[in-house]
Subunit: 561 residues, 2 copies
Amino acid sequence: MSTHPLSLTAPPALPARGLRIIPLGGLGEIGRNMTVFEHKGKLLVIDCGLLFPKDIQPGINVILPDFSILRDRLDDIEAIVLTHGHEDHIGAVPYLLKERGDIPVIASKLTLAFVGAKFQEHRLHPPVVEVKEGERRSVGPFDLEFLAVNHSIPDGLAIGIRTEAGLVVHTGDFKMDQFPLDNRLTDLPGFARLGDEGIDLLLIDSTNAVVPGFTTPEADIGPAIDTVFRTAPRRIIVSSFASHVHRIQQVIDAAVRHNRKVAFVGRSMVRNMGMAAELGYLHVPKGLLVDVKALERMKDDKVVLICTGSQGEPMAALARMANREHTIRIGEGDTVLLASSVIPGNENSIYRVINGLTRWGANVVHKANAKVHVSGHASAGELVYCYNVMRPTNVIPVHGEWRHLTVNADLAVRTGISKDRVLVVEDGIVVDLVDGRATVVGRVPADYVLVDGMTVGGDAAEAMEDRRLLAEDGAITVLGILNTETGRLAEPVEFISRGFNHDADWAANAAQVIDEAMVAATRNNALDGAAVERIFSESVTRWMQRKYRRNPVITAVVVDA
Amino acid sequence: MSTHPLSLTAPPALPARGLRIIPLGGLGEIGRNMTVFEHKGKLLVIDCGLLFPKDIQPGINVILPDFSILRDRLDDIEAIVLTHGHEDHIGAVPYLLKERGDIPVIASKLTLAFVGAKFQEHRLHPPVVEVKEGERRSVGPFDLEFLAVNHSIPDGLAIGIRTEAGLVVHTGDFKMDQFPLDNRLTDLPGFARLGDEGIDLLLIDSTNAVVPGFTTPEADIGPAIDTVFRTAPRRIIVSSFASHVHRIQQVIDAAVRHNRKVAFVGRSMVRNMGMAAELGYLHVPKGLLVDVKALERMKDDKVVLICTGSQGEPMAALARMANREHTIRIGEGDTVLLASSVIPGNENSIYRVINGLTRWGANVVHKANAKVHVSGHASAGELVYCYNVMRPTNVIPVHGEWRHLTVNADLAVRTGISKDRVLVVEDGIVVDLVDGRATVVGRVPADYVLVDGMTVGGDAAEAMEDRRLLAEDGAITVLGILNTETGRLAEPVEFISRGFNHDADWAANAAQVIDEAMVAATRNNALDGAAVERIFSESVTRWMQRKYRRNPVITAVVVDA
């Protein structure tokens, strides 16, 4: 495999016969959610998703891809094509449409329904084009073909892109479940046909490249769900992702078999399952669903709640149940089924919820003690099938961190693809496909754009750094009144502290430290307010480090008397 | 299994023939590190460890057990017995000795060496008693017997405690590796002999109760380590826990076989391995160790570095290598071996390090892609052996979160122990063993004591809450000068913000919000400073919520002009 050099500059002009590929919030350490293609002066955007913040980004709501290279060229965008309806692939579409509202959005029926809910919320009305597997559609110089793939949400698509530069395939997120619940197989014959035609470049999902073997079929968790339903003495509470239609279908089927009524809990669960049922992706027998309030009048062993919160989100129904802050009061004999993955970084939150539920007497069935979850992504064995069936000339592993991308690249090389044709690149790296060869040609801006409350972008990096400091050590405001005539303090300094936890005498001692620093500094000359503020900050900071091994954020305020 | 009621009060007096057991920082959601036994007015402390903070405890260094029930009875403590040398079992001993410096400390040779290093650092000189497996020793009314157990550190002990109330066994942390590297088996015949005698109460490690089957022998990771050494083209950098002597031994053995020199990196690694070698627990051939500086003059394929930082700790050598902030500059061809677990909550930090190392071209071998780690704790299968061999009358599962304790309790019940004799309790719950029956009798204070910089305890809970707020939304100081005669502001308010990231106009807009609030409030009456500070805080807080959906911590300062 071949990684790009570290010092890259703006790319040269794209040759007329070339296709340019730019991952933006699409690869790299945290990215996976947008790729821009350029050909003959026109642009095509595949996916436009958002990310959720990690522990090092306190206070951030969501993270958007960087649209800056698109900003001067909004009119060149032919379309946004969405591979499937997960947030990390569709969540940023409204933000791009705010820059230009009439970019056509092309996707399958369910994906359009999920992104359409966002359009409504944001009052956007882009032209939408519904496509399905097997169809072809030209947008500007891009000739698109759509192929079925299965994943942890129905109606996923891989995209073939034909241009004068050759044939590119983007798998989207996928696995190759050979027994999918909706019988919609990943289109391996289609992959083979495109392989026969000659795939010049393959962009391929890397999420599970580090997992050996094959992802277990979705249907294989049916027995574990059935066991829960057969043995649960009282209520059953199921928590899963609000987009995992097939997982919810298995729960609903079990509820029907075991004669229990079902209530959906949580805004996104209610809305998504409503849409999925209306469009025919979720099959709910008449009379099965009840309102959550109706449960109170029903026997405990006749009900199932299906709710959000499987990642331990503190405001979701499940966490509130674990803390006894929810109207559903968990007790001895209740069974909670977490039919979901543990997204790395969420372990602490999830285990807090599991411990809480267990504490109240619930039996918690989850991934670690029963086969109640399988991944939505292809494992190494499946990826190898893809390489051997598609036989691409060039490969860019996508959708993963460095540790995933490099392992996926190794798999490609093991199937016989030439090492220098497998490009491991990060967000903003520009790859040109010219004369059948993909080459790294430069780098464009590809920062992540942080959404912080109502503010998009701005100087978030500095705010982030300050917040981490504040979280570690708290904040102290030091207030002094300066006699401008004498250049000395007119009154003793005052302290106001937050998040700083120390002995009772600290303020008196700190005041003395400041007094001494002031005496030393004013021996020869009178000081102005700015100089006094500096003395406050520096003397207190030094003293706090020495005395408490602490670095609170010091705000010095000096007022003239 | 039987969980204790939620509303419990101080326990009644202990009957003369009874033994009292109090877990303190010993069980419950995050605890595992101390248990107090009382008999005939005397106390015995088993383990006295500390915990490391979680994400919800920003800025905290370590967490201690609550010694408050011991404080009035320090002279009654007969001894502190340590089961093994891990931080979560020995780290708080110096803090207890600061309350009474001459409590005898009883432990095995290696455990005493590790805790002894702390005594030196803290200038403590308690009497120490070295014991080993097979020995018995009486301290006051407690007749102790020590049994060998294996774990992820050598020289671990289980403790038998005989009193007039019966025989109690505390397993400490253990597993039942049948092929331990030092041939020191967990003493199953000893467990059986005590079982024959009649075990009235068993306290047993729950960490891996949720893991089915049997923990893989330590020796079985040898081949994976050997493969790394056989195939690594350049440097090998191994990261593991600084106390995992047997793991390091396997690395050293591989280095000898493959003709590489070894350098230890990191203060705790250098110190602990020095002690382990000196005491005969680590076998290092003469001439194998070199100083890290000497490596620069050696060929890359002739060296191994063994360093700390396997949990992604940002200041440890490994993280600094991943960020190219270390003199060892990771590059193409280097191999990094993480021979360690992923402690829940550390995933983000660990993956950041792995991605960083991979980004520079290193091949990172870790738990997820090779068999380079096994746990130090007994899995469910081993626990079941213990129950069947020991046949205890009463059981308290220890060392785990609720999700572990309850599963371990279920295992006990499945081996035939009566449900109401298996007590799942949390820190501070008092259990009395009287006439062969263990019963929950009350609750004592068992808060966690946070060490925050140099400050132990104090009002850490409030500081914690403030820090979480500061981390989410930052801090704003609002400064106003009040004309005390008119009760109005003499000058426009000023703002100083940290960690608050918003549009350029926010301060001007916030000033206007304050002006309007002041006009409304002062229409009828003049205000004093405290009232004006309240108006500042309330009006800005309300406006920030509405306008930015943000809750920065507001510090209002009003100075009289």
